[in-house]
């Protein structure tokens, strides 16, 4: 029941209450994190003077078991019936203390947190100011919690299926983990094959095992697993619902071949009227040519051909004998294919959308695109790959073999003009490339680095091995690559200019081949993906995890998990580990079968509702219905997501939000201002 309080606000008369408020205030030291700045004793003393406060205590770590037991004991002994904990951010430990409140025998929502660490001790310079601000926040929480009301936690069922977006090594590993656990997995990949970046590599550091040998078995497992629905050439276009009950809309782009009929015999490619490849092969980073009908690589999964409508004569002119169709014994072609859509319900989503390699052309000083023998590391991976355009031979554009090779680290990374971050994998893969290029060509290899970063199991040992092999290491960031020759031996070659900072002189090193170790950056459409799945990114554009240390695979949107380089630069072992973790966390949720939802839904006080319908149109989730007969609005609490937009807009104060009623917020405002 809500009644005007004569102040323009409303006073809550809880529907059910646990009696007159007796509040316990617990101030946490958080070791020295809070106590080092805030005078905790003074805050406790202050709290004890506030209205309705029955108990005020401080403790070293409130989140520890003994800390929680303090609360539980005071509740059980009836000293208090409402709880305020002044400690870290509610985003950190609200759930912990709500649980303690429930264990103590009260509704978990008779609890309010005051963040005096993130909001106070960590950001306020002066101790006295910090203590004052802490007091104000505690007062706000105390005033507010007195008006909290009895609420039942909400429970919702969880759909048992899961979705994984992105079919690189992260998506593949997560999919297999969950499928093995008996969950049905929808794996959505935008390219025509799964495998991602890893499928392009030849060897992987530091063990130098062949990427295809370890990846392709997993790819075919995905293809054949009864619990996995693999959708390639597909993307997610819409997500609705909430944790445990997402409805995901997936678009399938046409590949003009019926996937279920194509056997991957590749006869059609042979018979295409283009006798030779003519179009840049994206899979080989444009280093080779393909036909309009092609398969990216032999182990592509699914092993289905793709038709490129931009290149195919039939699509361009409508005039072609279509020898491909003739060649197909299974009648798998369908040139009339159009986009189709699927809508599936899933309980959890794992995003494994990966990364984009830095575009080397953005650094004109390195001459990529200008000098033919400046390659990116991904191009070299393709050249080194036995299934690549040169059958594994490292050759210059004119077909000759390089005698001297320069590998430039940190291209696009650690650079305020491009990407500020360290891409983490480049040092190691540059060492790998140095080793392999030297092994294949016998060339002298120079690595130009700013700092060598080789933390990881077996990584420093790998560096040691490369040094032993006689690879030259120059500590200095390359300023430029030029074909300007300043000495006879530089004629006709590329010259790398860098300060060898360890000897303190500028060096000019003539080379035949330059390899640019391009960094890792977010996918160009990461912002769209973020909006679709309602999660956030950091300023640099990688998806933000719920907590950088303690919740590295979940997001602020319950039920959406992260795996792999979409969350930040990662190498393969880390990616796989994170994918396993994401799968496990999603499984834990799906397997339990239900989730607890926030109690903060909106409700309408019918007595006050004037039937103006303002709220009905405002609700972004169509959760508010209108009873025409009684001329009253009504909130469907199952659909309501608890934003409170209707509440903020209701002219008569009839719309209210559990845990955020007008009265509670007025009390908090007064609390934070009135005392200190």
């Amino acid at each position: 029941m809500l009644e005007p309080d004569g102040n323009g606000g409303l006073t809550s008369q809880p529907i059910s209450t646990n009696g007159s408020p007796k509040i316990g205030v617990y101030v946490c030291h958080c070791g020295l994190n809070i106590a080092g700045k805030v005078d905790v004793k003074a805050v406790v003393e202050f709290a004890s003077t506030l209205p309705n406060v029955a108990v005020a205590r401080d403790y070293k770590f409130m989140c520890s078991d003994p800390g929680q037991e303090l609360i539980e004991k005071d509740l059980r002994e009836g000293l208090i019936n409402r709880v305020v904990v002044a400690s870290c951010s509610p985003l950190m430990h609200e759930a912990t203390f709500r649980r303690a409140t429930a264990v103590g025998g009260q509704s978990p929502f008779y609890f309010q947190m005051a963040s005096i660490r993130e909001q106070v001790s960590w950001v306020v310079a002066d101790g006295e100011d910090a203590t004052d601000k802490a007091k104000a926040l505690v007062a706000g929480a105390v005033r507010r919690v007195a008006l909290h009301e009895y609420l039942e936690p909400r429970r919702a069922d969880v759909h048992a299926d899961v979705m994984i977006v992105g079919g690189g090594i992260a998506g593949i590993h997560a999919a297999l983990t969950m499928a093995e656990a008996g969950k049905h997995v929808f794996l959505v990949e935008r390219e025509s094959t799964i495998g991602g970046h890893m499928a392009k590599f030849d060897k992987t550091f530091p063990t130098l095992d062949c990427a295809a040998c370890i990846l392709t078995p997993k790819m075919s497992q995905v293809r054949s697993h009864p619990n996995i629905t693999l959708w390639t050439y597909s993307d997610v276009v819409g997500v609705e619902g909430y944790t445990g009950d997402f409805t995901v809309r997936v678009r399938h782009r046409p590949r003009y071949v019926k996937e279920e009929l194509c056997t991957g015999c590749l006869e059609c490619i042979e018979k295409c009227i283009h006798k030779q490849g003519k179009f840049a092969d994206e899979w080989n980073e444009g280093l080779s040519k393909r036909k309009p009908i092609y398969i990216p690589f032999p182990q592509a999964t699914p092993a289905v051909v793709d038709v490129d409508p931009e290149a195919c004569i039939w699509f361009k002119t409508g005039k072609c004998p279509r020898t491909c169709i003739e060649a197909c014994e299974r009648d798998a072609f369908d040139f009339e294919q159009t986009e189709t859509f699927d809508e599936v319900k899933v309980g959890a989503i794992v995003l494994a959308t990966g990364f984009k390699a830095f575009d080397a052309a953005r650094m004109p000083e390195y001459g990529y695109g200008l000098y033919p023998n400046v390659y990116t590391s991904l191009e070299i991976e393709r050249l080194l790959n036995a299934a690549g355009p040169t059958g594994g031979e490292v050759v210059l554009r004119d077909g000759s073999h390089p005698k001297v090779v320069g590998i430039i680290h940190c291209v696009g990374s650690r650079d305020a003009k491009h990407n500020l971050w360290c891409s983490k994998v480049c040092c190691m893969y540059s060492l790998k490339l140095a080793h392999m290029v030297k092994e294949r060509t016998g060339a002298e290899v120079y690595n130009f680095y700013i700092d060598m970063r080789t933390p990881g199991k077996g990584y420093e040992e790998f560096y040691d091995k490369i040094l032993k092999e006689g690879v030259h290491m120059v500590r200095g960031r390359v300023a430029g690559v030029t074909d300007e020759a300043a000495s006879p031996e530089e004629e006709g070659r590329l010259v790398i200019r860098a300060e060898d900072t360890l000897i303190g002189s500028v060096r000019r090193i003539p080379v035949d081949l330059v390899i640019l170790a391009v960094g890792i950056e977010p996918q160009p459409d990461a912002q769209d993906v973020r909006r679709t799945f309602n999660i956030s990114t950091g300023v640099e554009g990688f998806f933000t995890e719920r907590h950088p240390k303690l919740a590295p695979v979940s997001t602020f949107t319950d039920g959406v998990f992260l795996a792999g380089a979409c969350q930040g630069p990662k190498d393969i072992p880390e990616t796989v580990a994170q994918a396993g973790a994401a799968a496990a966390e999603a499984l834990a949720m799906v397997d339990r079968g239900f989730v607890m939802l926030e109690a903060n839904t909106a409700f309408i006080d019918e007595a006050a509702c004037s039937g103006c319908k303002t709220c009905v149109g405002l609700c972004p989730f169509s959760a508010i219905g209108f009873d025409e007969e009684r001329q009253k609005a009504a909130v469907n609490e199952v659909v309501c997501k608890g934003c409170g937009v209707c509440v903020g807009a209701c002219p008569s104060g009839a719309a209210q939000q559990h845990l955020f009623t007008d009265a509670q917020i007025f009390a908090e405002i007064e609390g934070v201002l009135a005392y200190v």
Binding site: G8, W122, S536, I669
Partner: protein, 163 residues
């Protein structure tokens, strides 16, 4: 509240931060140990769209010298478009506050994403500076539409404007 004239004026600013973007950004500022003016006291709401104009008036009534509202960037709202509602309401509120003689600098709406801890720091510092320069809030004029009822206390204002 008694004003202690021996101490220089320190403004009090009440902030309403949305749970998903700005409150998280403030947490990030904390984790990154970014020091900023202690004058801002944040109240967490689920969405900036929950901010009722009454909250702002109540804050001024209860002794705030400024009010800051923080929400997600346009297009980034966790609830699709709560921040648009916040903005529309804010524009109207600002007009009304102007009529009440409350300077524009005392109310501020900022889009601060979860990644922008530094923006929390900057905005809080800026606003504190600006309001410190303005001095304590003094309601000198009465809103136009209530002129005939002058002299109005702001206690009344809150009730009149919103009821």
């Amino acid at each position: 509240m008694s004003e202690d004239t021996s101490r220089p004026f320190e403004p009090k600013i009440v902030a309403f931060f949305c749970n998903w973007c700005t409150y998280t950004a403030a947490d990030l500022a904390g984790i990154s140990r970014m020091q900023y003016a202690p004058n801002v006291r944040a109240i967490r709401l689920m969405c900036s769209g929950r901010v009722d104009p009454q909250f702002v008036l109540a804050a001024f009534h209860d002794g705030a010298d400024g009010v800051l509202i923080g929400g997600c960037h346009p297009g980034d709202c966790h609830y699709q478009e709560g921040n648009h509602n916040a903005r529309r309401r804010f524009e109207l509120l600002r007009l009304m506050l102007r009529d009440m003689g409350i300077e524009d600098e005392r109310v501020r709406l900022e889009w601060i994403s979860a990644a922008e801890g530094d923006k929390v720091q900057r905005v809080c510092n800026e606003m504190t500076e600006q309001i410190r320069a303005l001095g304590p809030l003094r309601l000198v004029t009465v809103p136009r539409w209530h002129a005939e009822e002058a002299p109005a206390e702001h206690v009344e204002l809150v009730g009149q404007v919103t009821s």
